[in-house]
């Protein structure tokens, strides 16, 4: 069954159309990455899937339920968002930050239950954040901080996690670690991941499927290997791209004309 379904989704701000007529169905337990040049509409599409932007036309459904018909709390139990530039509130502990993910479950007027606290503890454990639990969030390094933001999304216990450029600003090792972690959640936990990534090599290696956006329109939708080798990809970026096979993995490199 398709977990995330976009039907004819158009997102616009005033008269400006950011995403137009995108129709996509993403299967449960798979990873779909949205690629495309800057200004292609990736973030707008991701925000529509996370329910933060209401499409001006078309519908987004998750688990067969239309997002626009849900309130914030119901939606937050179905889809979690890892934003591109998360706000890190100084003075809050890592534990309290991750526990924000449980608010949609226990509500704003009730305290966290024993179960909520157990889930936060297990997330901290899973993301190796246990030793930081009482630290102020602003004292974490970039990699630790990004893991913590991911932890908040995990704590929401949703079927779908949407990530907007989750590895920006991380060094190579932390990039790989974060993506491997997500990959194992997809493989073992049945999680559905929708992400945007600028790095085409990593996009190709980690996603089951790539969606190529350009100027708000869906250009190509297919298996990761096919999309990175397509002429359309090079055309959208307006440059010469070469795909090299390194030990069975596709490495996408730009070549000067």
């Amino acid at each position: 069954m398709s977990q995330v379904e976009l039907r004819d989704v158009t997102v616009s701000v005033g008269a400006k159309v950011l995403v137009s007529n995108v129709t996509v169905a993403i299967q449960s337990g798979t990873w779909c990455t949205i690629v495309g040049p800057n200004g292609a509409g990736k973030t707008s599409l991701v925000e529509a899937i996370a329910g933060l932007r209401r499409p001006s036309r078309g519908t987004v459904s998750i688990g067969g339920r239309v997002l626009a018909a849900m309130n914030e709390r119901e939606r937050a139990r179905l889809v979690a968002l890892v934003p591109q530039h998360p706000v890190v509130p100084s003075g809050m502990t890592v534990y309290d930050y991750v526990a924000l993910g449980r608010v949609a479950h226990h509500g704003l007027l009730r305290a966290a239950t024993t179960r909520d606290r157990a889930i936060v503890d297990s997330v901290l454990e899973r993301l190796s954040l246990g030793e930081f639990r009482d630290r102020d969030v602003v004292t974490l390094s970039g990699g630790e901080r990004q893991r913590m933001v991911l932890g908040r999304a995990f704590a929401q216990s949703t079927m779908v996690i949407v990530l907007d450029e989750p590895i920006t600003g991380l060094d190579l090792r932390h990039q790989m670690e974060l993506l491997e972690l997500l990959r194992s959640e997809v493989a073992d936990g049945g999680l559905t991941v929708v992400a945007t990534l600028h790095d085409l090599t990593l996009a190709g290696q980690f996603a089951d499927r790539l969606i190529l956006l350009n100027q708000g329109e869906l250009v190509l939708d297919g298996a990761a290997g096919d999309v990175v080798r397509s002429d359309e990809l090079a055309h959208c970026y307006g440059m010469n791209l070469r795909v090299i096979d390194v030990d069975g993995a596709d490495v996408v490199v730009p070549v000067r004309r």
């Binding site: 914030e72 968002l81 003075g91 809050m92 309290d96 608010v103 007027l109 908040r152």
Partner: protein, 332 residues
Amino acid sequence: MVALSLTGLVIAAIGGLVIGPTSIGIGPVVGNVLSHLGVGHNTLSTLQSTVLWQLRAPRMVLGLLAGAMLAVAGGTYQGVFRNPLADPYLLGVAAGAGLGATIAIVDVGSGLVTPAWTPLLAFVGAMGAVIVTWLIGGRNSRSSGATLILAGVAVASLLTSAQTFLQQQSSGSIARVYIWLLGSLASASWHSVWIVVPYVAVCSMVCVAAGRALDVMSVGEDESRSLGVRVGRVRLVVIAASSLGTAAVVSAVGLIGFVGIIVPHVVRLLVGTSYRRILPISVVVGAAFLVLADTIARTVMAPSELPLGVVTALVGAPVFVLILSLRRPVAV
């Protein structure tokens, strides 16, 4: 910290009852209270008893209510707007109340007395100002808190200039308008206490209950929505409660400054950044602080009184600077 602030509250309250030009000891006050309950015996003279129950007690209770409400409203605004400079007067409450009171005072012509309907007009002015601000900047749930703050600035400037104009037109009443604007508990009575109590009780409880929502909203509007918070609705409820409580208090005691901005910051420096702790403790500390300030205001230059707003700043600012320099920088 909770125990400490409660102890401070009790000391401030007792101080508010026993300190003053007519000296009344703690023992006789306790004896008098007990005698009302049917135990022990009263040693106070009729004069002392009247001073205690008709002057100091209502004044002390009104001070507690006003301090608690202004402090919790300020803390709530700082949270909902994620702005350390927010105070309860941010959305035009003070300017609206000021205009309402000025209309009432100037209207009498001679300006020799502050008429009885001054609080009512002040209340109407305060709520009117907030409602106009909300209609301009907050109706659309997609608009950000910044739009609302700017709308508040515009409304406040407009009303303040109208108030100044009225005041200048009627030079005879300038002194009374000015005294009202600076805030005072001098006209406190049980009547004013009973009018203010329900507003402060309900509104401060709503603000305190919003602590968890404000903690979530510290990650910003979009992220709070993705975490399941109806940002627009929380903002409406919290602003309505803070404004209503503040308007009720301001209409009874005038524009007491400084409490709403400084108390929550002091509390934040002492207990950390979670609004679940800041707001309830601000209720207690705000109440204690205002009664303490009022006790100073009515005793240091007795029989004349210092304006309460002057004392809150005079006492509060050095305390705040001291704590600020001892602790880490302000984080909201």
